[in-house]
Assembly symmetry: C2
Homo-oligomer: 235 residues x 2
Amino acid sequence: MRRTQIEAAWLGKAECRNCGIRDLVLFADLQEADFQLIHQPVEELMLDSGATLYRPGDDGAAAFTIRSGLVKLVQYLPDGNRRIVRLLRAGAVAGLEVLAGRSYEHAAEVLQPALVCRLPREVVERLNQETPRLHRQLMNKWSESLRLADEWLTELNTGTSRQRMARLFLHLASLDEDGLCRMLVREDVGAILSLTTETSSRTVAEFKRLGVVREIRPNTFQLEAEALEKIAVDG
Amino acid sequence: MRRTQIEAAWLGKAECRNCGIRDLVLFADLQEADFQLIHQPVEELMLDSGATLYRPGDDGAAAFTIRSGLVKLVQYLPDGNRRIVRLLRAGAVAGLEVLAGRSYEHAAEVLQPALVCRLPREVVERLNQETPRLHRQLMNKWSESLRLADEWLTELNTGTSRQRMARLFLHLASLDEDGLCRMLVREDVGAILSLTTETSSRTVAEFKRLGVVREIRPNTFQLEAEALEKIAVDG
DNA sequence: CGAGAGCTTGACTTAGATCAATCCGCGTGG
DNA sequence: CCACGCGGATTGATCTAAGTCAAGCTCTCG
């Protein structure tokens, strides 16, 4: 496999105070005084598809807020197999585990060009100690991650390949607000649904034939939501 | 299905100060002053196998610390299918999500007679606001739950039925300290590994034939760890 | 003793994996 | 400009692991 250069453009020191999506992210409730507690720079990074935020085992110096784009969390098995355990979009936090003193559990790779903020562990820990206003947000992120993990297991790993694929389409569509669904490469679909790339391909093709999804642009689909929901439950 | 009476014996108001396993649980770091903040009773309950701690959608008035025994978290799909998403043993907390203001996401059912402490939501929230000493523990519980959820997905839902079953045996053995493995009923095994009860049964039977597990007592096994690990990776 | 719940086993079917070939779109370099 | 190569998608033919359906077994408990 060709080692791609990590494509990260450093955009500068973030101005959290004036963050446009602050209500989505970790610092939603912070007040003016709290920002005085930030003594290390929070950096803003623009990452291209294919870039890696971190790898499993890297000792975690920072968590990352996703401001836009799409990031996958990949977990590897001893036998070389790999599973995608979560997809992160705007508002989510990657690498929460470092705040609990662990090293990273997954590899975090960019699927759609992403704007992220790098939050040094010390900053979050300091704020978490000094101000109760971060607790609620942090707890929300934990609980949301866990909810997604459980949903992932029950929805995307239960039933026939058609059911799982239908649920994946609906799941991805719920991420993008424009009603369209940008599908992942077939290999990643396989790593999410526990299927081979061939079966992923066949199932997508079948959905196209059935007309429950329409390919607007290469690998971007217009969904027939009701039909897909029917497949998701009836098979 | 016969509706069993919920078999809960109320053992009395817990004395958290003197809790024998306090270092395992949520209140590990609390100091004398913190206990003054507990204004609602923390109750200690003994629950028989089959008892239900809560059901999905119940509005969550409390989280539960597991002091001993084994509890399963079950998630249901719209089509009636069900998956076991986690097993909780001593030290774990069931119903963490209520602390983030959600109602319960799962059904929590007792698999092996369990001693649990019922922690009213207000108590935990109050402590969490007033003392930073709970934060770390709470974060540890969240992060541990999430780690288990991801591990569950990658280890127990990837590979052949033999691999998954081998990993389940090893996983269960790591819960019990005595080196033995108390296997679950086949239907539950199926709901964990995404298999039918028949396949679960056949696979356990095959393991017995191969001698990689030995049935000491009904449904209690002595494991051949190295052999199982071999199966877990090679198939 | 009888009933019911859970377990096992067998015969058969099938969904999805595997193996292999081709196709398609795109960037690169002659 | 065009041929080439490469990564991903597709499609076909075959194989097999696991599901399905059905029967019988083994406890336990009332």
